[in-house]
Symmetry: C2
Subunit: 705 residues, 2 copies
Amino acid sequence: MDGMLKGFLILSIVIAFIAFGFAVWLYFWVKKQPATNEKIHDIGELIRKGANTFLSKEYAILAKFAAVVAVLIFIFLPKPLWDGSFVDNLLMNLQMTIAYLAGTTFSAIAGKIGIQIATIANTRTAEAAQKGIRLSFLNGFRGGAVMGMAVVGTSLLGIALVFLLTQNSTLLLGFSFGASSLALFAKAGGGIFTKTADISADLVGKVELGIPEDDPRNPAVIADNVGDNVGDVAGMGADLFDSHVASLAASLVMAVALDKVILGGNHVALIFCYAAIGLLSSIIGIGFAKMGKNDNPTNALNTSTYLTTGIFAVLTALATLIFDFEWRMYFAATLGLFVGVIIGIATDYFTDDRKKPVQNVAEASESGPAFTILSGVSYGFLSVLPAMIGIAISALGAYLICAPLGIDTATKVTYGMFGISVAAVGMLSIVGMIISNDAYGPIVDNARGLAEMGNLGDEVVEITDKLDSAGNTVKAVTKGFAISAAGLTVISLLGAFLSEVNDAALERGLAGITSFDILNPMVFFGLLIGAAVPAVFSAMLMLGVNRNAERMVAEIHRQFNEIPGLKEGKEGVMPEYEKCILIATTGALKELIPAGLFAIIITIVVGLTGGVYAIGGFLTGNIVSGLILALFMSNSGGLWDNGKKYVEAGHHGGKGSQAHKAAVVGDTVGDPFKDTAGPSINTQITVVSLVSSLLAVIFLTWSIF
Amino acid sequence: MDGMLKGFLILSIVIAFIAFGFAVWLYFWVKKQPATNEKIHDIGELIRKGANTFLSKEYAILAKFAAVVAVLIFIFLPKPLWDGSFVDNLLMNLQMTIAYLAGTTFSAIAGKIGIQIATIANTRTAEAAQKGIRLSFLNGFRGGAVMGMAVVGTSLLGIALVFLLTQNSTLLLGFSFGASSLALFAKAGGGIFTKTADISADLVGKVELGIPEDDPRNPAVIADNVGDNVGDVAGMGADLFDSHVASLAASLVMAVALDKVILGGNHVALIFCYAAIGLLSSIIGIGFAKMGKNDNPTNALNTSTYLTTGIFAVLTALATLIFDFEWRMYFAATLGLFVGVIIGIATDYFTDDRKKPVQNVAEASESGPAFTILSGVSYGFLSVLPAMIGIAISALGAYLICAPLGIDTATKVTYGMFGISVAAVGMLSIVGMIISNDAYGPIVDNARGLAEMGNLGDEVVEITDKLDSAGNTVKAVTKGFAISAAGLTVISLLGAFLSEVNDAALERGLAGITSFDILNPMVFFGLLIGAAVPAVFSAMLMLGVNRNAERMVAEIHRQFNEIPGLKEGKEGVMPEYEKCILIATTGALKELIPAGLFAIIITIVVGLTGGVYAIGGFLTGNIVSGLILALFMSNSGGLWDNGKKYVEAGHHGGKGSQAHKAAVVGDTVGDPFKDTAGPSINTQITVVSLVSSLLAVIFLTWSIF
């Protein structure tokens, strides 16, 4: 390893630790904020315990799953133990297994930290609102930032450590796969959890018994509040951890291939340099984030995002100059980042209640729920276009910018393909900031509920309302950003797959791959089947929510029937909140596993049938239809949510009107769309891409055709 | 032209005329059935006039559209007039213009015939029900068969004539494009029309005024009944005309290329032979169709479909033997047909009310409309899988069967690709039978309404009910079949596109195309954008329905306010039905045009930006996401429709229950899904594919990159 690369690896590790240090500082800053209101404290404790119950249960099941996968990896990956030198394979497969487990563990730790801080910051934010919006904002934002720093810090640290110790890029894919399988549990599992609780609490509480939304008698009420943290904080964090790791892994696989053959190549160094600068920029951006005197919270969040973007652009330009990186790479990275921000803004149009789509859907609700659904679906479909064009332009642009640099003739990796992965790294460079903004949302959302339940008064609730509304607006932007970044990442994973296949082919004296030709029937075969997978996967998750909700409703009925005095609200009688949380947890994980296995098994079946060409098509179909469905579901879900809020704000008859009833139906449909199925598709795509890269050798040598 | 080919061309024309003769016989058979009930006759007349109003208006607007396109074709296609010899180009472009106009006209004539017979057969079927189910069935079925014979007869005649006169395969694409642009109007326009009328009639009639569904006071009631004929008969006919023509055109483009270089090649002859046999098999199948004594109508319909399939398989085997065609082609064709039938059966599972999905959705409706929607969307997504796997297997199978025959080195057309187009021809060979079954649906549906309005008694209504229910079941099968056939056809249109590009490249001494490599960034760029198009297209149609319904509601209000005695139902006072029909018509066409133009213009923009590679990706993305969305929307729509009927049959509380209200919401959402957007996507894909093939030269020479 040359000195410069080693330098950047150590720099990455150092900056990761700076991020941890910053996270610790932020954590204690939030924690030492006053927490005097007892009622708020008690409810907060219940939520915190519930979230931890979910996490421990989830991690326990995950540990079993990971153990099985680890054994399979140990036997088969990167090479079956018996294929060539047994001792060499044993050592290599052991490393791969460790890398996989490390990926799982690092992501799990980041999720745990996120839940920890979110369930502290919510109470502090609620109480701080009594002293004014600026302090309250800072509590919410800094709470979110702990999560941001933890996620990106562990991600960068993990990747840098694996590379420093092994210099083997295939192991990075193993690490990334570990992160992905955790993300699958956290995001899809959390998504099923949160909607199970939400639906069951509403069905029995609001519909059957007519008690208010957050009534403490309802055994599912804590599970419902826990769900927000579990899905939006831990799930989203794992999702972006996954994307960040995958973007680095994909680019590094190609960078290693290029560095191998190009004298004095510094591609690996460049990736670590840019990633480290990305994290550093986020640290600075977060450090400066606060609300000005006459400011509003949305502006404060956006300003710090733009600031981070600017700092990244300037610092990477300096680094490129100083370390003599290719300027073309620099432009690819900044193009990716720039387009990411643009896509976020375009997505915002479809979910912002000051814009036409939300207002039109609210208006259509006057004619009944069918029209809420139809118009929401229509706008959801329309919203797909800007993001797809944005991803297309950034991929094409990055390719065209970098392609003139040449091609690695051994693995057939082109600089153009590498450029796309650099664009993905660029887009994800500010992910620390994005996560901070995103985790801010559920914290202030919880704070709003706590302020109301703790009777802090109308003025305080109004402040938390403002903060919450900013969280919703910013969330649409970050979600569009996250999906697009995942899209660009999986495109570059296609390049990683190619590189893996050709490496293996080279070693075995087989013919490598130069293209995935659509006119090759194997590619087309894979394409058609791969395209169906995200649809089936999300259907399985949504049906899982339904089934799980049935179980939970039965449990709520049981408690109301068997616990004397509960229904009447007798002093001191408490429902067994933990039981509901447990049902939501185990049910969620039980429903998730068939969906996850379906995606993985169909990949393996296609690979063993049609070989690497079929997989090339399969991944492409999966990416394309996955992006369409993820964007559609996330955006229409967000739109219905804001449509309902818009009506509740007094438009078209306000609360209780026909339009409101219809808008509530839209919101209920949108919830699993945007919180369960839509964002889980990201993870599904990444998992499938990584499985393909890891099994490249097996598909190459064992397939039927 | 060799003797055998000429023989098959003439055979095709002869069989087309036999089909016409058969259609005439069927037409008069139906027409001479008794029509004695005056009330039924009067209502039938209103529906007939309304449908004709729509058709004349549609054709008038279409004529203008076609005139503009004809001028553009004359200037630009196949080559810009100034590109090379002006006189040669003038002659060639003139032929292309004529082919285009012929395609439009032939399809228009078939649609007109279909509407003509459907609006006669509906009254006859209603009255025949008084004499028993078997005669009534025969009326409905033979009425539908007139449409089937007219569509496939004109399609085969048109293609055979164009080829006989010119032997130029590019002109076939022009003919096919003409058929497609009409299909776009008929299918999408008809789809907007029917849902506009349906929604408006319900909103004002049932919701505002509380009058029954088919109350003659409602100015929109005739428009509503007209809609069924316009969308399901004329629209569906144009759609399948389009697919049939496109499958023949695509295969013939490749067949011509192969015949050019292969001594004694008989590929063109084979296509015409198989197509002619397909029509002949349908004639025989229709001739034998009737209900046995203890039979039910569903069985009768299915039996004749299987009979047709069997006859086709036997006759083509004989022809292959006698005329020494390649057996591999035979197997490709029968594979296509076989898979088509399987897909139809699999689709049926998701929309049949005796199966789990419909019953589960009905059950979910008990919890409210949000759950109707969520479970319906989930099953709709699941239903995508069998069809996608079926299409993938038939495409791959046909390719693998035929690939060993070789490749045409000049245009790079492989026998494998040609095999896929033969599979599409095979799948569509029995389309005459499919259309007959499909047109049977709206006829018996209308008959049911007429029997009720004409007070023919409960027993008669029950008979028409049985016939109607069979129509619904069969429809699900034919719809899955139609989408899959369109999928296979557009895949083979990719081959036609390749052939066109390489022909043009050869002529200009440019480098041809051998592959559309997914790793080529231009291809990927096109892929991402092409995938977004069906989503946006269907969103525009659905939003169009909403806007159009608003206009119509205003007109209904106006009539109720301005026509004295209308609201009160004063004897002799009639609403101005025509005005509503006119609004639905012009509005539908007005809303359709932006959607159609969007699809065409974005194709041109992508082609002029990224050239033929980008278009290759664009078409692929369009096909893949188009198939997913079309299957999802058609199947979930059918499922909701049957879910509502299942509840109405007395399950989960029956009519008027909470579950019923929720199921009605599902049905309302499903209507534009299955009747407007879903099936129109077929046409959108075909139109875009043909535009690409026709503009191949321009994209090859004028594109920026």
